[in-house]
């Protein structure tokens, strides 16, 4: 017989055990665990200044310490290794006040000469770093002046707009460590690299950041990044619980997963990425003269733009996880988007009216130009992109309704690049733009008529049209002033010109879709790269997952 008192003691002991268990589980969740996810290709480099592929970018984000970081949620710039900074009124100089007591992952102390070393290396023209090129607004050397161990001034030969925000991508390297890029200031460091297979990151024991309770971040012990190019396999592994997140998930997979486990998928709304098409307007391109005349006509381009049903593209191709695109800036880019512009409405009748103005007319259900040439062109796009291939088919149908015959030519990526950048042997092309930079200055090499990425007619000696000359002027204007209001005005006008002239016909902005396992706590998927693990230092895994692994 158990007495009342004994019973009470039993209950109390049980309650105490539960409390201890709960605290232990919580502590476990806050400390430790191996987060797993996949990247789709081999990282090409671990040198943070030479990153130009997604996999290396992910590793740099997780291992690199930066002076200031764009908060992926608020899009605001926040101090990191720099406590504060000051940009000179002429946007040529930035002075950083650095954080004290920070060490690299190998224990060497962080100081202003590390920043000087990084900047000098970054701006070395022989390095051909895309991060460095973004800072290059004029010819001449970049100088660094170490004012004190915790203070440095960096001077550029010409104004650099959005100067402070650009340091979001500059991972500081150690000037003294023998480990070179192996010594990092970010929350994790590369512990093991199995070529073709995986990269294992371990927590940086010297990471400077602490949480509100004073506990050193990151919570996770390690991150295991598998190299897996096949999206089907990635999805399968996610379903099996072998990986914890998928940073960017395709619409089909998203919907399949949403139907069975809606709690795992996240649609963060329109991303900065866009899909667009354009016509070849290169002067010496190997295309018939009459087609060059069509493609050079604003009426023709606008008619094509009007004839395309963007709502259908978003609804059918992306199952509603996309928005009709307006122009070069996605509505997700809160500050720089020109909100006065609206996506081109689907209007086949209006398209025909525009074409009539240029002498096009219908003949037995087929559109012909004023010389009697049947309107027919081909669209090249990259094979293997299901979404783009489907969009091409829908565009083919839409244009077929106004008598235009479209031939679809999916090409593998190297062949496509060769055609659009070297031989110019194409009529129209469809591609996507993955934008990780909020500032439009990052698009300078697209909009300047002399630039190699001026897709429809690159590397012009002088602007071929008046509106391209105006865009050149506006882009240079916005790049030469630190006045945000003036910059915004200039780039708003650029967006208007692009809308009116349609050199690039913007189609859709796809939504930022991701999948995160319920075992991951603290994830808040956003629209900016890296969507799911931008706050990796504060992510935790629940105890069951940690124990299982």
């Amino acid at each position: 017989m158990i007495g009342r008192r004994t019973k009470f003691h039993f209950v109390m002991c049980f309650a105490l055990l539960c409390c201890v268990g709960s605290i232990a589980t919580n502590a476990w969740a806050q400390n430790g665990g191996d987060l797993r996810f996949c990247v789709r290709s081999e990282p090409k480099t671990f040198d943070p200044l030479l990153v130009d592929d997604d996999s290396s970018l992910s590793i740099r984000y997780l291992t690199g310490g930066v002076l200031a970081r764009v908060n992926r949620h608020t899009q605001e710039l926040e101090p990191e290794l720099a406590e504060s900074w000051k940009v000179s009124p002429d946007s040529k100089q930035i002075t950083f006040k650095l954080r004290h007591g920070v060490h690299f992952s190998d224990g060497t102390p962080f100081a202003a000469d590390d920043v000087a070393f990084t900047v000098q290396r970054l701006m070395d023209p022989a390095l051909h770093s895309n991060t460095g090129d973004a800072f290059r607004s004029g010819s001449g050397a970049v100088t660094t002046k170490v004012i004190a161990p915790d203070q440095i001034a960096i001077t550029f030969p010409a104004p650099v707009v959005g100067l402070d925000r650009m340091f979001d991508e500059v991972a500081i390297m150690s000037a003294h460590s023998a480990k070179k890029e192996g010594a990092v200031l970010g929350p994790f460091m590369v512990a093991e690299y199995k070529p073709g297979s995986s990269v294992r990151l371990e927590r940086n024991p010297y990471y400077w950041k602490k949480d509100a309770q004073g506990r050193r971040l990151p919570y996770l012990d390690s991150i295991h990044i598998d190299i897996q190019g096949n999206r089907d396999v990635e999805m399968l592994r996610f379903k099996r619980g072998e990986i914890d997140l998928i940073n960017v998930i395709d619409t089909d997979y998203f919907d399949r997963l949403a139907s069975s486990s809606p709690q795992l998928v996240h649609d963060a709304g329109p991303s900065l990425d866009s899909d667009f098409m354009w016509f070849n307007e290169v002067g010496n391109a190997p295309i018939p003269e009459y087609k060059r005349a069509w493609f050079g006509s604003v009426n023709f381009r606008r008619a094509i733009s009007e004839a395309i049903n963007r709502d259908d593209l978003a609804r059918i191709v992306y199952n509603g996880h996309a928005q009709p695109a307006v122009g070069p800036i996605s509505p997700a880019n809160k500050f720089w988007f020109n909100s006065h512009l609206k996506a081109e409405a689907h209007n086949p009748q209006g398209a025909l009216e525009r074409l009539k103005a240029d002498g096009f007319h219908m003949q037995n259900g087929t559109l012909v130009d004023k010389s009697g040439n049947q309107v027919e062109f081909s669209i090249v796009t990259n094979a293997g992109s299901k979404a783009r291939e489907r969009m091409s088919v829908l565009i083919q149908e839409d244009l077929g309704k106004i008598g235009i015959k479209v031939n679809l030519v999916p090409l593998d990526f190297p062949s496509l690049i060769e055609r659009i950048t070297h031989t110019f042997n194409y009529e129209a092309a469809m591609l996507g733009f993955r934008n990780i930079d909020l500032d439009p200055n990052g698009q300078m090499n697209i909009w300047l008529s002399s630039a190699s990425n001026h897709a429809w007619n690159p590397e012009q000696k002088s602007p071929a049209t008046a509106w391209e000359a105006e865009i050149d002027k506006l882009m240079r204007e916005q790049a030469s002033t630190a006045d945000l209001k003036k910059r915004k005005q200039a780039f708003d006008r650029v967006q208007e010109i692009v809308y009116e002239q349609a050199p690039l016909i913007y189609l859709i902005n796809q939504n930022a879709l991701s999948a995160v396992s319920t075992s991951v706590a603290g994830a808040s998927p956003g629209i900016l790269y890296p969507q799911t693990f931008w706050n990796a230092e504060r992510l935790t895994l629940n105890g069951t997952t940690t124990a299982k692994r």
């Binding site: 051909h128 895309n130 073709g196 190297p414 690049i417 060769e418 950048t421 070297h422 698009q443 630039a451």
Partner: protein
């Protein structure tokens, strides 16, 4: 004898060199050879884009590239991969063991399964068994290698199983026909009539006839397994030579593709030469 060996080695060397040159020429002529996806990066300025283009300029003249490659190879320098930015010798050194293991185990399993099925079929002459063997090998012959690789991913099975299933039907069909023909020879029928045991017939009478051709088949299946390792390693995420070859082909990585061609040609020729040597050794001597 030494003269024959020297001639054989010379012919292998010549074939390897020709194979490498053909591979280099094909890659050079492939569309998209001198393009680089980094050219589409809007943050790169004109100088960097021109520097990227200049990287490929040295490869435009294929004879100049190939002679420079051969000069480097003589000193152990195999060049640097464009797509992965690493020395080719390092890449091959890291990836080769994976392929040897995956293709090796797959080949062994394929051979064991096919040979067992074929031997049992010959010993146990039942029409139903032949239909079963034919249907099984026919089914695997019809399924594309990539589908078998994908199935192994879905079923969480090791990649070497996919290779085993890819090589199995080819080995089975050939060895079954070979053994069947050997068993049909009059002296074997006579031996059976005299009550000689099946195992003795197999070892003493059938294998000496079919053996040399089976060894030759073994040499050929090495190249079959290497070919199968491309889809299998790519889909199963196995970091071997096959996966490397796929990546190199997609990115038109000339130095890597030339080295891979040379390596695969060399392995195939050595496997076939090994088979030839074994055939010579097992052939009954006359006189």
């Amino acid at each position: 004898m030494l003269g024959r060996i020297a001639r054989h080695i010379a012919s292998i060397a010549a074939l390897v060199l020709i194979g490498g040159l053909l591979s280099a020429t094909l890659v050079r002529m492939a569309p998209g050879f001198d393009s680089d996806e980094r050219e589409l990066d809007p943050s790169l300025n004109a100088e960097s884009v021109h520097a990227l283009r200049a990287e490929h300029a040295g490869e435009n003249n294929i004879l100049a590239f190939y002679s420079a490659y051969l000069r480097g190879a003589m000193h152990g320098e195999l060049g640097v991969s464009h797509s992965l930015g690493q020395p080719v010798s390092r890449l091959l050194g890291e990836r080769w063991p994976v392929t040897v293991r995956v293709a090796g185990i797959g080949l062994l399993l394929g051979w064991v399964a096919a040979a067992l099925l074929a031997f049992v079929g010959c010993l146990w002459q039942r029409p139903l068994y032949h239909i079963f063997g034919g249907a099984l090998s026919g089914a695997f012959l019809c399924i594309p290698a990539a589908v078998l690789a994908l199935a192994s991913v879905i079923l969480n099975a090791p990649g070497y199983l996919a290779i085993a299933f890819i090589v199995f039907p080819k080995i089975y069909r050939y060895s079954r026909n070979l053994l069947g023909k050997s068993y049909a020879l009059p002296h074997i029928t006579a031996a059976r009539a005299r009550g000689v045991g099946e195992m003795r017939i197999l070892i003493c009478h059938v294998l000496p006839i079919a053996g040399p051709q089976l060894i030759a088949l073994a040499g050929i299946t090495v190249s079959l397994a290497l070919g199968a390792s491309i889809p299998v390693e790519s889909l199963c995420g196995l970091p071997g030579i096959g996966q490397l070859a796929w990546q190199a082909a997609l990115s038109r990585d000339l130095p890597l593709l030339v080295n891979l061609t040379v390596l695969v040609t060399l392995v195939t020729l050595l496997a076939n030469s090994g088979a030839d040597v074994m055939i010579c050794m097992t052939r009954p001597r006359q006189g």
